[in-house]
């Protein structure tokens, strides 16, 4: 008969509901502020936009002053970035032209043709880019996985000297890279890790661990330990409880940590510059050193920078759902 059951869970509301926030005047103000914010954001992003545009300009267009806003886009920059070229002799040139007319010449070769060159192979940049992927990727995975287990231990178990240990871990991040580079260089030289992928991976992992342990501990602290205790009582081991219960609920934290660790490792310049030369050099250094090969190849640099941005943007975009935690300004029961 008459039921007095509760009316269901609190429905979180995504917008603020307090009087001064809902008032029509306040809403108009909010719209103006939003517009201004967008304008400011665009202004802040201007350098990035300019770089993006530069990547698609031709060599000639880049040098013009005042800078051209309207221009004919070309992927010259990318060609210079990704390939080794050599000046082709007259015979080769003729051959290439006839191939082009017959539609049998690749896009890159066609562009190279315009300046009288032919492609001889991929540039060292491609190789360096691949190094970046391996080193940043593996070190991110390592720091997140190790960080996760460490964070769980710090959060759930009685570790002797826990506070001191946590502070110690945090302190590793307080050092500017430059300060430790020389000692690291000497150490790596001794250990044979200089200019090796393994060396860089270890280094990045260690540096990222401080951040990942702290961040993940915060997330795991928020998961009530009753969940795992219920599982323990029900017959699961701690490890199983960890995988089945803690992990699914820590996904947001893991996603956020992954993104941050990836950004650091991917963009890292100082260590890479000092501790690598041929084999394990990563892309950021590579782009910078492109300055010294017979003139500054602005378009190549712009192309390289733009291309370098993209993977991180893609990863962050893919994880955006996990990064956005429910933001509620007021929880209303339906």
């Amino acid at each position: 008969m008459a039921r007095f059951e509760e009316r269901g869970p609190r429905v979180p509301v995504a917008h603020p509901t307090r009087v001064d926030k809902v008032h029509p005047k306040a809403q108009a103000t909010r719209r103006v502020v939003a517009f201004v914010s967008v304008v400011v954001a665009v202004i802040m992003l201007l350098p990035v936009l300019i770089m993006g545009i530069t990547a698609f300009k031709s060599r000639g267009d880049v040098m013009v002053s005042p800078p051209k806003i309207l221009f004919k886009p070309t992927i010259e920059g990318f060609v210079y970035l990704f390939t080794e070229r050599a000046v082709a002799n007259a015979a080769r040139l003729e051959e290439m032209e006839s191939n082009a007319k017959a539609g049998k010449l690749s896009l890159f070769n066609r562009i190279a043709l315009q300046s009288g060159q032919e492609i001889t192979g991929p540039s060292s940049y491609v190789f360096r880019l691949w190094n970046s992927v391996i080193i940043a990727g593996l070190s991110t995975v390592a720091s997140v996985v190790l960080g996760l287990f460490a964070a769980y231990a710090f959060s759930r178990f009685k570790v002797p000297g826990k506070d001191d240990l946590l502070f110690f871990i945090l302190s590793t991040r307080m050092l500017p890279a430059v300060v430790v580079t020389i000692p690291l260089f000497l150490m790596y030289r001794q250990l044979g890790l200089h200019d090796r992928h393994l060396g860089m991976i270890i280094l990045y992992t260690v540096f990222n661990l401080s951040f990942s342990v702290w961040l993940l501990k915060g997330f795991i602290d928020e998961i009530p330990k009753e969940y795992e205790e219920a599982a323990l009582v029900d017959g699961y081991t701690r490890l199983q409880a960890f995988f089945r219960i803690v992990l699914p609920q820590a996904v947001t934290g893991i996603a956020a940590t992954t993104v941050f660790c990836l950004i650091f490792a991917w963009n890292e310049y100082a260590f890479s510059l000092m501790l690598t030369s041929q084999r394990a050099r990563t892309a950021p250094v590579s782009i910078a050193t492109m300055m010294g090969r017979g003139g500054i190849e602005w378009t190549a640099i712009a192309a390289g920078s733009l291309g370098f941005l993209i993977p991180v943007v893609v990863v962050t975009f893919a994880l955006r759902k996990y990064l956005l935690r429910g933001i509620t300004f007021g929880a209303i029961r339906g």
């Binding site: 059951e5 509760e6 269901g8 009753e226 323990l232 029900d234 699961y236």
Partner: protein
């Protein structure tokens, strides 16, 4: 189902001794309640029985065998938490099935389905099986939590104030359901609460815990009619018992601070002591021997609580139905003398003399 015995359980934390020589036992099929205020050590006791905490000394035996060395999983107990026991990322069905899917049990899926649906029927949540737990109301969540304990058919149910976070009305309804369920299943249950109504209505027997010590054990009738200490007397019964400082002079009890007098003959009373009168034993009576002023009225419908002041002494009186008195009235009242409680200054009960 099983018989459980706790002997001299002691547990110390760095800043406080949570439990000191706690001993009690309960039999197969009994609904045993641990009653006490927040911080008394009830949850700690429960967690020790479950194996989630380790006691510093003392033993726990189930069916005569010590279970101290067993892990929580091996003890075959089910734990219902006050909150946060349902996994938010799973559906209700998966939550109920979770204990059965544990590697310890390895129940086959068809069996799981039968057990889950049975439990859902008993708790009237069958229509919720496909929902995610985040979409449930508080009452529904606790039903699922209890369901998850039932599916396992364990030897012992441990419940940590499962009704405390619910609305008053829901608490009432679920209380009755839970008691009924326990009686029909015959499940041995250790139930922890700070709410004395829950304890009185649901328990077969109660142990009152205060600051880590068991103060009294007995049936609800024992606890209510013969409280062993002033603490128990004040804990159980609404409104709270009137505890009055008194002295014995010439065969009469003199209540300090007022003109209340009661014959003292039946009790072996010291010179000074405490007298306890339950509010329902203080009755307004136009011919009554004592006078007081009404300072506050709380009309509860079925009964009314009158706050009285007899000389300077504050008293609570409980009268059935509506009370005609108004704040500020002077009334006369009587005390039911057969129902008096006496406690020494050490707060322990003074027994009646056998006549």
């Amino acid at each position: 189902m099983s018989q459980v015995e706790l002997k001299d359980i002691t547990k110390r934390f760095p800043t406080v001794t949570a439990l000191q020589d706690v001993s009690f036992s309960f039999a197969h099929g009994e609904f045993f309640v641990l009653l006490g205020p927040t911080g008394a050590g009830k949850t700690t006791t429960l967690r020790i029985v479950a194996g989630l905490e380790k006691q510093d000394s003392g033993t726990i035996c189930m069916d005569g065998q010590s279970i101290d060395r067993r892990t929580p999983a091996e003890r075959d107990v089910a734990f219902v938490f006050q909150q946060y026991s349902l996994y938010p990322t799973m559906t209700v069905y998966d939550n109920l099935a979770f204990p059965l899917r544990s590697p310890l049990r390895r129940t086959p899926e068809p069996q799981i389905k039968i057990r889950v649906e049975e439990a859902a029927e008993k708790l009237r949540i069958a229509h919720l099986l496909k929902r995610r737990t985040a979409q449930l109301s508080g009452g529904e969540m606790q039903r699922v939590a209890i369901g998850r304990a039932i599916v396992r058919e364990p030897r012992l149910f441990l419940m940590d104030e499962p009704l405390s976070n619910l609305d008053a009305k829901l608490r009432e309804a679920l209380r009755v359901e839970l008691k009924h369920l326990q009686k029909t299943q015959g499940s041995t249950t250790l139930f922890v609460t700070h709410d004395q109504i829950e304890a009185l209505t649901m328990a077969d027997r109660i142990a009152v815990l205060n600051e880590g010590e068991v103060v009294q054990q007995g049936t609800p009738d024992d606890i209510y009619d013969r409280p062993a200490t002033t603490f128990v007397a004040q804990l159980v019964g609404t409104p709270k018992i009137n505890l009055l400082a008194a002295s014995r002079r010439d065969g009469t009890v003199h209540v300090r601070g007022s003109g209340l007098r009661v014959p003292a003959s039946r009790y072996a009373l010291p010179e000074t002591f405490l007298m306890g009168v339950r509010p329902e034993d203080i009755r307004p009576d136009p011919q009554g021997p004592f006078g007081a002023e009404v300072t506050l009225i709380e009309p509860l419908g079925v009964e009314t609580i009158l706050h009285l002041k007899a000389d300077e002494l504050p008293l609570l009186s409980l009268v059935p139905g509506m009370a005609p008195q108004r704040v500020g009235d002077r009334i006369r009242f009587a005390i039911v003398q057969e129902k008096l409680h006496f406690f020494g200054l050490d707060n322990r009960r003074i027994a009646e003399e056998r006549t």
